[in-house]
């Protein structure tokens, strides 16, 4: 894939495969193209060049809508509608015209999973950053996506909330394929089955967390893991 914004190339010659039922961590310093990659995988942005395949099927105008329904994304900064936690989580289900009882059952179940069931009637925007991020994850999870994209879900969170989000991600990976973008290599090590490292819109390394984070061969990845490349 290739993607540029206003003449600035963000993703170039990127070729990546996400394996089903695994957690793929996309690591890399700020500006390496992680968010852009996830936005293209979520079909928010289109690549200027290149193709996306979903389970071997080329994504195009004829099947994009159906495939988009199987993929959801959680943004780096918790974006929430100015509604209650319950209504936020129910939004996607309401679009599907599900019955109220079904929506309630699903929403409460997923709120329980993220530890937010007691906050159902609270307004999302009045919650803390960590709580808002948990609502955002619940809202994505309630749709039971096959592929869940998490864009730096713990950025700007305190250690307690980070651990809570990581606990939730460990729960999620039992039921969906997960791609998590993070600039924290240790978090990638804790959560993922495979790691891909981006730099300037290119893949500079791909492998198991051990290969990429514990024993990196590439000097640029070594620098990134040591915190010398941010």
């Amino acid at each position: 894939m290739y993607r540029a914004y206003d003449g600035r190339v963000v993703i170039k010659q990127l070729n990546l495969k996400v394996r089903e039922q695994q957690v793929l961590a996309v690591i890399g310093p700020n500006g390496s193209g992680k968010t852009t990659l996830l936005r293209m995988m979520a079909f928010i942005d289109k690549p200027n060049d290149g193709k996306i395949y979903y389970k071997g099927e080329k994504v195009d105008g004829s099947n994009a809508k159906a495939i988009r329904g199987k993929v959801t994304m959680v943004f780096q900064r918790a974006v929430n509608f100015n509604k209650t936690v319950y209504k936020n989580v129910a939004y996607g289900l309401e679009l599907k015209k599900m019955s109220e009882n079904e929506i309630k059952r699903k929403v409460m179940k997923v709120l329980d999973l993220v530890g937010m069931e007691k906050f159902a009637d609270r307004r999302s925007k009045k919650l803390s950053g960590g709580e808002q991020q948990r609502v955002a994850i619940a809202r994505a999870l309630v749709l039971e996506p096959e592929l869940l994209l998490l864009d730096e879900p713990t950025a700007n969170l305190d250690p307690k909330n980070t651990l809570e989000i990581e606990r939730i991600i460990n729960e999620i990976k039992k039921r969906a394929t997960v791609v998590i973008a993070t600039n924290n290599p240790f978090q990638a090590n804790r959560l993922s089955d495979r790691v891909v490292c981006l730099l300037n819109g290119r893949v500079i390394g791909e492998g198991t967390p051990k290969e990429i984070i514990d024993r990196p061969r590439d000097t640029r990845i070594k620098k990134f893991v040591r915190g010398e490349l941010v």
């Binding site: 988009r68 943004f75 900064r77 509608f81 100015n82 996607g92 749709l143």
Partner: protein, 182 residues
């Protein structure tokens, strides 16, 4: 119109937004005069017989308040987190549904826009007087009735009508504030 101006990119968008903003300050007397020339029997809209008719006033006031609603609503929509639309789309919303989600986030500002526009329309004098002609029982509105009452020295009637006008304006403001509360 506000949704298009805030969410779509097209040539001349800035100019159109500037025109709407500039028209907010349009003097009602000036608009009344322009419409009078258009509505009069020798004007291009003469055959429609809009002069001295309630329809003529309604059209005039709609023109008067459209820039207020559009400009304020555009401003409210542009202050919504730009990721809200993307968020709605990732949750399965169509383009229209995603736009509605953004509009819903801007509803406080949009409500204020409608309230401000209503207050502007009900309190204006220039269009109603020039286009309506202040015909009792037909095109006379509160403001023109008050104006006529002052001219004829019917001060008590004017005070009563002013109280009615103020009650309407303040009630609407109160209702707007209630609607804008979380």
């Amino acid at each position: 119109m506000a949704l298009s101006l805030s969410m779509r990119e097209f040539r001349g968008k800035r100019v159109i937004k500037s025109i709407f903003t500039a028209l907010i300050g349009m003097p009602t007397v000036a608009l009344g005069l322009i419409l009078y020339l258009l509505y009069s029997s020798s004007g291009p809209l003469g055959p429609l017989h809009l002069l001295y008719s309630p329809s003529g006033i309604i059209i005039g006031q709609a023109i008067l308040i459209t820039p207020i609603i559009v400009s304020f609503t555009v401003s409210a929509l542009e202050s919504v987190d730009p990721e809200v639309k993307d968020l709605a789309r990732t949750l399965g919303a169509s383009e229209g549904q995603a736009s509605l989600a953004v509009l819903s986030e801007a509803k406080k500002g949009a409500t204020l826009a409608v309230a401000a526009a209503f207050n502007r329309a009900i309190a204006e004098l220039g269009v109603a007087m020039t286009i309506g002609g202040n015909i009792y029982g037909y095109t006379q509105v509160l403001t023109t009735a008050i104006s006529k009452g002052v001219a004829m020295g019917e001060i008590m009637l004017c005070i009563e009508l002013t109280v009615v006008l103020l009650v309407i304006v303040f009630s609407l403001t109160l209702l707007t504030n209630l609607l804008r509360r979380d």
